[in-house]
Symmetry: C2
Subunit: 316 residues, 2 copies
């Protein structure tokens, strides 16, 4: 896959920093480190410091962390994806354009000599007409092998800003972004609805509240039905846990409106934990189970590493 | 209208407190006081104090403020509407039921002797199947005389939690609530979109951005299009002021979805300032101007007083 039997994976997000030493052939992780030193904090420190060299400021931290990583050798190339290529990151790179396939040729990257004999491959994100992403494109690349090369469908990556990637014959051709997770976080914790919802277990009752709301959100959108959650709580003492799932269902249903019409096309779902449960249930409700493929948890866990490995092979 | 030539209007909201001495026949305001001592702060003080008598705690503050009010006489009845009748207020009253007409008989009220010879009329809110309100019902009552008694239509009260009151032959029969204002506040100030929007002037360009978004929001809902505002800003450097109106248009368009189909029925708009401009433009775009009635600013300003005056006549 790449000339390098090992590489160092750096996933540098807005709030988190994660390093892993990876065996390329197996994607086994030999060692790892994670810190809360995300791009945002790094940027604040840079802006309050001497501001002379952005790359140097970020590279110094990366070097310090790489040196603390067991199993890392000074010849292993480092692949950095996520927000490190944003304007508040290590070095700004323009967004790449779709389509991207297995070789990821359209991805924009910058290769630098990190230390003598050690390369650093900084990966940019991609954009569509209405969306931008930095990080998810690398994860999506790592899932490409799991998608039927003859098919046309949509890969779903739920999260704070959910992404729906349109796939056709081995390539991602377009995508949409949704603020579902961020809206849910705001509505459950800081809005007028906060007192009417409470996180709780997924059971037949909460599932029923969820699925009914998924239908409503998909058919009529979410915003017109939000306040009814509070009214139900105040007037009829509806259970806050049911309301939590009702709210989730409204937002997820609205997000899935566009894919709900594509019942004849495969939908690949890449999510873990509770998001996996919710999105699977919602997609089965809206589209049936026939064309839904829920990707394996271990595949999803390794998707970023696999994507970085492919980027290293093409761009390294 | 009422036996009392004068009354004291108390508008006690979550965050604000307002007193006015009103001449009943003309609704002229002879004197007024306003403070930031809303229900929420009053409640916190009550909970951290001796907690023995909720009514007494609120009444003490009201008495102090009434005594500071010029022109107030100890015989003028006091009408209190807004959040004072909520569970965190002066005394909890159950929500009244629709329909409500000019006499407001279905409104729930509590009359107490505030001081010897001085009555206090505490007014509760009303509920529908999916909405609750405390305060707007009094304002809506005060606008009833402006609505064609033979007509069937909708009275729109835009705001943090917009209300759409269904009207038929002199009575409000149902209503819906929308979180439009609260969502807009969150999205413009604390979400991922905050850096992509900026408040600015209403002109032909921002109006065009707004109206186009109104159409999209009404047709397809708001949530699927929110992230595109950020993408447009990052990728095409769209103007943050245009984006501000775009975001506003999406949310208002989604709110107006249900009334947009009622093009043959009158729609009465009660809004001031920038909300008046935006909702009028959106309603004209979606429904045409033929059935839209934009209520006079002075009427809206006096609506609460007129409503309280009517409540005093029936309940006092």
């Amino acid at each position: 896959m790449t000339d390098h039997p090992y590489f160092i994976s750096c996933d540098w997000g807005t709030s988190n920093f994660r390093l892993r030493v990876v065996e390329a052939a197996t994607l086994d992780v030999l060692a790892q480190r994670a810190t809360g030193q995300g791009i945002q904090r790094m940027n604040e420190q840079f802006l309050s410091g001497d501001r002379s060299d952005r790359y140097r400021h970020f590279a110094a931290y990366l070097r310090e962390q790489v040196d603390l990583l067991p199993e890392a050798r000074p010849t292993f190339p480092i692949v950095v994806s996520g927000m490190a290529s944003a304007n508040i990151g290590m070095q700004e790179l323009p967004y790449g354009k779709l389509p991207i396939g297995r070789q990821a040729r359209n991805l924009v990257s910058e290769v630098r000599e990190f230390r003598s004999g050690q390369a650093l491959v900084l990966v940019s994100g991609v954009h569509s007409e209405t969306g931008i992403m930095r990080g998810e494109e690398t994860q999506a690349l790592g899932l490409l092998d799991e998608l039927d090369p003859q098919a046309e469908g949509v890969l779903l990556l739920p999260g704070t800003h959910s992404k729906h990637l349109r796939y056709r014959q081995g390539r991602f051709t377009d995508f949409q972004s949704y603020m579902t997770g961020e809206l849910f976080e705001f509505l459950t914790s800081r809005s007028i609805l906060a007192n009417s919802v409470r996180d709780g277990v997924w059971n037949t009752r909460t599932q029923s509240a969820f699925l009914s709301a998924v239908q409503t959100g998909c058919r009529e959108g979410a915003t017109a039905h939000l306040f009814a959650i509070r009214a139900g709580h105040v007037l009829r003492d509806t259970d806050p846990v049911d309301n939590y799932y009702r709210l989730s269902g409204l937002l997820i249903g609205a997000e899935l409106h566009d894919v709900a019409v594509e019942v004849e096309q495969p939908l690949w779902l890449a999510a873990s934990g509770s998001l996996r449960i919710l999105y699977r249930a919602a997609l089965q409700e809206l589209c049936g189970a026939d064309h839904l493929v829920v990707l394996d948890d271990q595949l999803i866990e390794r998707a970023l590493l696999r994507g970085q490995c492919q980027i290293l092979a093409t761009h390294g």
